[in-house]
């Protein structure tokens, strides 16, 4: 199923959450292709299924129907161990709530991932990439929210992932700090050529993407290509 230049491909993805008698259709037959090295921003109202999609693409969750392929691995067929392997080797995650390990320093939080990765960059270098070369030995409690988020990005990219998935990485930050974080994402995307998906509620951020997907009701409603990407530094909101 691998097509040249396509990193991720989804066909008829469906996801149904069942709680008792209530069924929630989070995804309804969604189709998607991500080209290698592409930066895609995912927009859409709350509850439209963005996080659900990202979780499936990142191997955190499995679809109820349809199939998802990473290169020539069919994600929807992998068992738990397979998914763990996939996340470990190919995916970097960044979340809205940074999810750092409080008992580890910034450097150690990054080492956490590099120690189990196949071809990582030195943790120090990853932190320098996000502009935190001077805060290596600080614990999360000693860092601001934006700094913590940048550590989370360093942690996500230190393994040189094929896929960088960010779910509202600036959601908890003010615009200035948010820009710093986006700059980090942008820089990694450019320097490593990582295929990147970024979920946001902020339409302004969509300007930094190659392609913008708008989700609604479990499917992709709208898609547009930016003729030219704007630099993260130029964004304000």
């Amino acid at each position: 199923m691998a097509s040249p230049g396509i990193t991720l491909r989804a066909r008829g993805l469906g996801k149904v959450y069942r709680t008792g008698d209530v069924e929630v259709h989070a995804l309804r037959g969604l189709d998607l292709e991500l080209a290698s090295g592409e930066l895609v921003v995912l927009l859409g109202p709350s509850g439209s299924g963005k996080s659900t999609l990202l979780n499936i693409l990142g191997g955190l969750d499995t679809p109820t129907s349809g199939e998802a392929w990473f290169l020539d691995h069919e994600l929807s067929r992998l068992d738990d161990a397979g998914l763990t392997r996939y996340r470990r080797d190919h995916v970097g995650f960044v979340f809205q709530f940074y999810n750092l390990i409080p008992s580890l320093t910034a450097l150690e939080n990054v080492s956490l991932v590099t120690e189990i990765a196949r071809d990582p960059m030195p943790p120090r270098e990853a932190l320098e990439l996000v502009g935190l070369g001077g805060r290596l030995d600080h614990f999360p409690a000693q860092l601001s929210g934006g700094e913590q988020q940048r550590v989370a990005i360093a942690r996500a990219i230190a393994k040189r992932p094929d896929l960088l998935l960010c779910d509202e990485p600036t959601g908890a930050l003010d615009s200035q700090t948010g820009v710093l974080v986006l700059e980090a994402v942008e820089r990694i995307h450019e320097e490593l050529g990582t295929t990147t998906v970024l979920i946001t509620h902020n339409a302004v951020i969509a300007d930094m993407a190659d392609r913008v997907l708008v989700m609604g009701d479990g499917a992709i409603h709208d898609e547009r290509r930016n003729a030219a990407r704007r630099r993260a530094r130029e964004l304000t909101w």
Binding site: S51, N55, G58, L60, D61, D80, A81, T84, R85, R87, R88, D89, V91, F93, F95, F97, N99, L100, I101, P102, S103, L104, T105, E108, N109, S111, L112, V113, E115, I116, A117, D137, F139, P140, A141, R155
Partner: protein, 789 residues
């Protein structure tokens, strides 16, 4: 202002945390269970004994004499405070029960003919009492009869004053005097080799040439009379008739055993429940502390709505009480059941004709109050913290916990640790209090295991030292009264006898200052070959040519040191009184014996060579022939076979102790389980988000389990050896508390006991870790990431 909603929250919290609640409740229930068991056992044994004693008019004072004329009974009755007097003939004789090779020792006790027993009444279980003028009709003590399958109508033979008598069983009975029927020189009741036989008074008087005389008196006292005063008066009255010293009910052998058993139960009710309840209190503290930390913002919200601090405090107090209530209820059931079981075991062992197990509410209320108190105590700190949270503060999310580099710096070994190990270690260092509770809890479990199993070690050690090393004889022959040493040569000629060794036992009062003890002086050869004086370290002692070698227990009772002199007042024959120096003391587990060189003793008694017993080494092949001969020797009053004594000791111990040991193993496992489960669950609740993040980052289940359970494993690893140390200390404490004048349980812990304790403790820990591990495996990755904690 506690609303239905708060109540619902309480029930939901209890239900949501049911695993942890149950784990604490189990620990608490173990404590409550042991407490209720011990208290109800004490209560019902005491109640049963009191009722039995009362119904059967068990005497208050007893006196043994050589021969006293019947008219002395009237004088005894006149002693102030005496209510009734019963005079009897009591003798020891060798019995021959058909189909039983070994000689049986019988205690022959007379029954008044034609009139009812005034004191020490029998409870007839089968048949009837002997008829007047039917000298060969006897009543047997039930356990003895049962052990030999003897029923009314059956026959047995006895050597009564040197003559064989054919006896017919007419009745089977129980007596408050022989609740614990123990033969001469034995440590445990052996119903096959020792029995009580009641015969008509006149028949026994005639048989022992005691016409118009008695050799044993029982007295009952008026309520409120001091037995010690009566004992004194009786002693003075009987002095001229060969009295060996009157004694009160408290010193009556059967009663003494029963009471010390009850005392041991009391001891049990203090030490072990304390451990369990203390641990339960700590666990409550841990769980509640965690719950309140999680619910900070809810607490703030409630306060913002107008709930008072008191309402909040009460809410969490109720939570603690909820845990306590589950524990207490479980413990009550457990305790009732164990108490009933335990009392039944004792009742069977003691052969009470009836059993009063109707525990009053006191034991349950006391146990309940103490446990709820422990739960409240555990809740105190956490509840106070909740009440003190200012509403605004409470609604801010807690800052991530502060970690410092501290000891785990970037140099040396620390550098070689991988990140999961660092997380694990920092966690331990960050919460030293909690780590301590976990370690201490598991250590206590191991300690309880060591205590439980050290009993078995101690018993094996006692058997080894007391029976196997010290006693080299196979058979001990006791004589009805002191005889010339020639009898040793007569016995040496019997079939199968390889070696002999004399012994002379003299009943005496030993005095030092104002202290006084009744203890037989045991005369033995200076260098014993068969019946050896061994100290607790297993060294054989040589008896010096003059002077006493006494047990440290006796030295303590008399408050004497080596070099002091003891006044010995002999209670037989011409009743000489002499002073003897103490030349050495030795440690022994059983009794409080005093040894002296047999020649020195003979000299002090102004008698030629004289013996009251002979120890024999016997050729096993000729045992049967030897026993046949021994049964018919006129002057022999008892024959004790060592091997049987060891067997009885083992069996009796096995019956009672093994049950206890298994109880405690179960309890200890509950303890280890409860502690570990809570520690791991709390860690999981605190760090679920962290662990889920790690899973997202590509760590496997095994790897994150390592972080969570590695912490528990590390603490358990520390706890196991600590538990062994604590177990040793606790054993010292318990062994001290259980010490009686009769025997001291030695403090012996075999290496294998430590091994087993660690293995069992480790397994219980592992099982609960495994249960938590299953939860780790089911961690919902996405849910944890969606929300800030």
């Amino acid at each position: 202002m506690v609303t239905g909603a708060l109540h619902r929250k309480l029930y939901r919290d209890l239900w949501r945390l049911r695993g942890q609640v149950l784990a604490i409740a189990l620990v608490m229930a173990s404590g409550v269970g042991v407490l209720v068991m011990a208290l109800t056992t004490v209560e019902s044994l005491e109640e049963t004994a009191v009722a039995y004693y009362e119904r059967n008019r068990f005497a208050d004072v007893f006196a043994q004499v050589e021969r006293a004329p019947e008219h002395l009974a009237a004088r005894l009755r006149q002693i102030p405070g005496v209510q009734a007097v019963e005079t009897r003939v009591v003798r020891t004789a060798v019995l021959d029960v058909e189909g039983f090779e070994e000689p049986v020792i019988g205690q022959l006790v007379s029954l008044p003919e034609g009139e009812a027993l005034r004191l020490n009444r029998l409870t007839l279980r089968q048949g009837r009492l002997p008829r007047a003028a039917a000298p060969d009709e006897v009543v047997l003590l039930e356990p003895f009869a049962k052990a030999h399958g003897l029923d009314p109508g059956d026959r047995l033979r006895a050597v009564v004053n040197g003559r064989w008598r054919e006896l017919t069983v007419v009745g089977i009975a129980l007596s408050p005097e022989f609740v614990y029927a123990i033969g001469p020189g034995s440590l445990m009741p052996d119903n096959r080799r020792y029995g009580i036989v009641w015969l008509g008074h006149e028949a026994l008087q005639a048989a022992y040439d005691l016409d118009g005389a008695f050799n044993h008196a029982s007295l009952s006292l008026l309520r409120g009379t001091d037995p010690a005063a009566v004992v004194d008066r009786v002693d003075r009255l009987l002095e001229g008739y060969g009295g060996t010293g009157a004694y009160a009910r408290a010193d009556q052998l059967s009663n003494w055993f029963l009471m010390s058993e009850i005392d041991q139960q009391r001891t049990l009710s203090t030490i072990l429940p304390t451990i369990f309840l203390a641990v339960a209190a700590f666990l409550t503290h841990m769980v509640l502390g965690r719950l309140i930390a999680v619910e900070r913002s809810e607490i703030g919200l409630l306060k913002a709505f107008g709930y008072r601090n008191r309402d909040i405090a009460l809410h969490y107090v109720r939570f603690a009480l909820g845990i306590g209530l589950v524990g207490v209820l479980l413990g009550w059931f457990l305790g009732y059941w164990l108490g009933l079981y335990n009392t039944r075991v004792y009742a069977e062992f003691y052969h009470f004709p009836f059993l009063l197990f109707r525990p009053g509410p006191q034991a349950f209320l006391a146990a309940g109050a103490i446990s709820l108190g422990a739960a409240l105590l555990g809740a105190l700190g956490a509840v106070r913290e909740a009440a003190a949270l200012p509403p605004a503060e409470a609604m801010r999310p807690p800052a991530p916990p502060m970690f410092r580099r501290g000891t785990l710096g970037r140099s040396g070994i620390a550098n070689r640790l991988d990140q999961p190990t660092r997380i694990l270690l920092r966690q331990v260092i960050r919460w030293p209090g909690r780590s301590f509770i976990t370690t201490a809890g598991i250590a206590m479990a191991v300690a309880v295991l060591v205590v439980a199993m050290q009993w078995l070690d101690a018993i094996e050690h006692m058997i080894d030292v007391y029976f196997l090393q010290a006693q080299q004889q196979d058979v001990s022959v006791g004589l009805a009264e002191a005889r010339s040493g020639e009898i040793e040569r007569d016995l040496a000629r019997l079939p199968g006898v390889i070696a002999t060794e004399p012994m002379r036992s003299v009943p005496a009062k030993l005095r030092h200052g104002w202290r006084e003890e009744r203890e037989a002086l045991q005369g033995l050869p200076a260098r014993q070959q068969l019946y050896r004086v061994y100290d607790a370290e297993g060294r054989a002692l040589e008896l010096p040519p003059d002077g006493l070698v006494i047990s440290t227990m006796l030295a303590k009772l008399l408050d004497v040191r080596v070099g002091d002199a003891i006044t010995v007042e002999v209670l037989e024959g011409r009743r000489p009184v002499f002073d003897v120096p103490v030349v050495a003391t030795f440690e022994t587990y059983i009794g409080s014996p005093a040894y002296i060189d047999i020649h020195a003793l003979n000299r002090l008694m102004h008698e030629g060579s004289s013996v009251t017993g002979v120890h024999l080494r016997v050729d096993a092949l000729e045992r049967a022939a030897l026993f046949r001969e021994l049964k018919s020797l006129p002057r022999v009053s008892s024959v004790t076979v060592k091997q049987a004594a060891v067997q009885t000791f083992r069996d009796t111990m096995a019956e009672t102790i093994t049950i206890f040991v298994s109880f405690f193993i179960v309890f200890a496992c509950a303890l280890a389980f409860g502690v570990t489960y809570n520690a791991a669950r709390i860690a999981l609740s605190e760090r679920g988000r962290e662990l889920a993040t790690l899973r997202v980052l590509g760590f496997t289940r095994a790897e994150i389990s390592y972080i969570l359970l590695g912490e528990v494993a590390l603490l358990a690893f520390l706890a196991l050896p600590l538990g062994c140390l604590a177990g040793y200390a606790l054993s010292t404490l318990i062994v001290g508390a259980f010490e009686t004048e009769l025997y001291r349980v030695p403090l012996v812990v075999r290496a294998s006991t430590y091994g087993w304790a660690m293995l069992i403790g480790g397994l219980a820990t592992a099982v609960s870790a495994f249960l938590v591990r299953r939860r780790v495996d089911r961690l919902d990755l996405i849910a944890v990431l969606k929300t800030r904690e």
